[in-house]
């Protein structure tokens, strides 16, 4: 990955052309080092998804031979897939990093779940949970794995994105970001979300995972799994907590997931792609965008923008 191609493509000069992945990698590493050099108490938000896996891998590279000098934070909802919990522990251990798991105590107490509470589930576990954790541990900079290609309102977000004392994002009042000079100064009450994967696309992420052999949750690969069909989505019955509706019987289908979250809110796609190249092939030939599998985006127009202003990552 880090050895530049010696062949000069496009018949240009003898320059050793860096590939797009090498340049993206170098940029992400640069961003991470800027954060560590400037922050008092940084943390990496780790969601166990493929973007998080990439981000964690890049962090290992950025600080090698030191382990990444910050902990991982998983804002847990208790409703993630079992396989995600398994990888979470292993990934943190392999990287030599501390893992902090935060569950919103209020949501725990009220037994908030996606079946009975709808949008409140995301609000309390994720949005509120994240704010609580950042406040509790006094993290001043949090790395997030968001990419600008994910969704329109993200296209304008800065790499260093500021949050007010109550974690709100003000899209109209963002600092200009020039060259690779990040202004990391902030008042005591503000915090920063830093997005080292801003310029990566979904395809870049997959290619990088393939090239670097990064371990990801097996749910991204198809396998026979028990699912039910609800509101046009295939939902996997990951544990016994999932209530069956009238006449519903889980069926075994060869499915995989293009994105991971809370299992009752994450739609599976029918697929036979069981290897990474198969998954990439399927992605390239497919005609629906990644976020279509996430229930939360359908709530309302420009919903992500609103959620982000409120503090959702």
């Amino acid at each position: 990955m880090t050895t530049p191609e010696t062949a000069a493509p496009e018949g240009a000069d003898n320059a050793r052309m860096l590939t797009h992945l090498q340049r993206l990698e170098a940029e992400s590493i640069h961003i991470m080092r800027e954060v560590v050099a400037n922050a008092e108490n940084p943390v990496m938000l780790y969601s166990v998804g493929k973007d998080s896996a990439c981000m964690l891998h890049l962090a290992k590279k950025a600080f090698y031979p030191s382990p990444p000098p910050f902990p991982l934070l998983h804002v847990d909802t208790t409703w993630k897939f079992q396989e995600m919990y398994k990888l979470r522990e292993k990934a943190a251990k392999d990287a030599g990093m501390d893992l902090i798991v935060h569950q919103n105590p209020e949501a725990v107490e009220k037994q908030i779940n996606p079946f009975d509470h709808g949008a409140l589930h995301t609000d309390m576990w994720k949005t509120e949970g994240l704010k609580q954790a950042l406040t509790k541990y006094k993290f001043d900079v949090a790395f997030g794995g968001a990419r600008r290609d994910e969704e329109k309102s993200r296209a304008k977000e800065r790499i260093f994105s500021f949050r007010s004392a109550n974690h709100r994002w003000d899209p109209k009042n963002q600092r200009p970001e020039l060259w690779k000079l990040y202004n990391t100064r902030k008042s005591k009450t503000e915090s920063i979300r830093a997005f080292p994967l801003s310029n990566w696309t979904e395809l870049d992420i997959w290619q990088y995972i393939h090239l670097e052999g990064i371990e990801i949750v097996p749910l991204y690969f198809s396998a026979p799994r028990p699912v039910v069909e609800r509101d046009g989505m295939l939902i996997m019955v990951d544990d016994a907590r999932m209530p069956m509706q009238d006449g519903e019987v889980p069926m075994m289908k060869s499915v995989r997931f293009r994105t991971l979250g809370c299992y009752p809110l994450t739609g599976a796609v029918e697929s036979t792609a069981a290897t990474l190249p198969d998954v990439i092939q399927e992605m390239l030939l497919t005609t629906t965008s990644e976020r279509q599998g996430r229930a939360i985006d359908h709530d309302q127009a420009a919903s992500m923008e609103k959620k982000k202003q409120e503090g959702y990552f």
Partner: protein, 644 residues
Amino acid sequence: MSDMTQTDAAQTDQAYVTDALIAEDIEAYLLKHQHKTMLRFITCGSVDDGKSTLIGRLLYDSKMIFEDQLAHLEHDSKAHGTQGQGIDFALLVDGLAAEREQGITIDVAYRFFATDKRKFIVADTPGHEQYTRNMVTGASTADLAVILIDARQGVLTQTRRHSYLVNLLGIKNVVLAVNKMDLVDYSQERFYEIVKEYSHFAKQIGMESFLPMPISGLAGDNIVTRSDNMPWYQGPTLMGHLEDAPVNVAQMQEEPFRMAVQWVNRPNLDFRGFSGQIASGVVRPGDDIRVLPSGKTTRVKSIVTYDGELPEAVAGQSVTLTFADEVDCSRGDIIARSDAPCEVADQFEVTLVWMDEAEMLPGRPYLLKVGTQTMTATVTEPKYEVNVNTLEQMPSKTLGLNAIGVVNISTDRAIPFESYCDNPDLGGFILIDRMTNATVAAGMMHFALRRSQNIHWQALDVDRDAHAASKNQKARVVWFTGLSGSGKSTIANIVEKKLHALGKHTFLLDGDNVRHGLNRDLGFTDADRVENIRRVGEVAKLMTDAGLIVLTAFISPFRAERQMVREMLADGEFFEVYVNTPLEVAEGRDVKGLYKKARAGNLKNFTGIDSPYETPQQAELTVNTVELSAEEAAEQIVQALLNS
């Protein structure tokens, strides 16, 4: 889907067939795509020039739009679109909800697409003059610029502005995209007319070259496939050119090696590495290097990465270097090739693009970040401001939002740098307001005003400590700040008498008195107030070198300048006294009748009335003149001073 897009899709398919390899041999496809390069570019033009439509078209033609997005797009096109039943590509790229409703883009948005050869990052920025800062932001990372012109309109004021900015930011590869050719009947004559006019202008601003291209973003002419409507055009298509244009980072490999140190990597006592992203050149183990600004030399021992040690690394890569010898090196330093180091200086001529609502204040210290170094810097009054529409150089006292001007800047220490045109990574900088933390300006270094190696601080045999010791006292600056009429001068006078009686050597610098002499050329604008305090600070500093206890009585309304003086002096020498008198009390006293004048509108920029007073947050002492008499306040100050 409308008829138009179906035809286009068919056309597109011929040129950009979804790579058959994807279906046939995905491994081979992946291998091929691992060797893509990356180009960043900016599109300049306003809403009317069809910029968003062009970007939407590039995304669409390179298959970066998914079916569900397309369904949304068709739905949105009918709801808010401007193309009747046709697809409004612009809706694809207009991001935030508020903008979508207003029909304009108001910020910098980044879009992504890829072809078989390259990945592209497009900075999409608005064109209006009030968004100059956004365009400059987008241009700062671009390898190439596409300047859009509406074929019906020709070269407009905004075309000139965009071109000036693109050239200012050092973008060498410029495409002049004459858009909407379909609306001028694909007229060759019209195209050349525009090109001729633009050539003339390009020469004026020193743009070395540009590539003119007749296109239609809406109809797809010369975007991906050569247009049948313009057989007279023999040049490349826009996509073809984007795929072949040179990339900055590759060109930077030809320059001497430089890397700004971001972070010192010390996992244990046996390893000490210096991490950074290489700004230019190539580095190999064994290379002789020099650490700047210290100038210490050593050799590169190894290039350490997670993937193993490298035999060489080039501009653009993020690496960690170890040295053969133990040489001091920390964040902000530049590691450069030993026989071709960069210059070190502390005064520069620079161009600034002002980006903040609050105007530039000459003399006020700002933070300057260049490479990985951050230090305090002050700017002079502009040598001139550039009118971005007419390109005229105008005299100016300051720079407001979106203004561009040439100023001198001086940093509080000598720093290694390169001129922006030689190395944007080491010559491009930002200014940060120390109070609001806002990024207030982008700057480009031109050259050093004097080489710092030629100036040496004159080492004096009788130094400041000796001066103070002979007076049997510690040099201090007792800085009185507060509203006009708060009692600063009165109290300072009494304090001086008391100190004098104790045998201390003192000197009182009074605001009004200084304005009769040293600062007689200054008025009361914010900029002049800043300069007033800067000069007083310098004078006070010289007096502390002489070992004196200096008392100053100035309103000094801004925190930033009081902080500046604090930082000029040695630790513990600055003693800030906040004379706290509420406005109504000070106004009630109105010893000099100034409040009355100000209220009547006969005195502009009067602190407390129409000019702000920023109360101290870290004063060494606050005296409340409502509760204390001047005599009591003075006694309190003397006691505090003697005890500190």
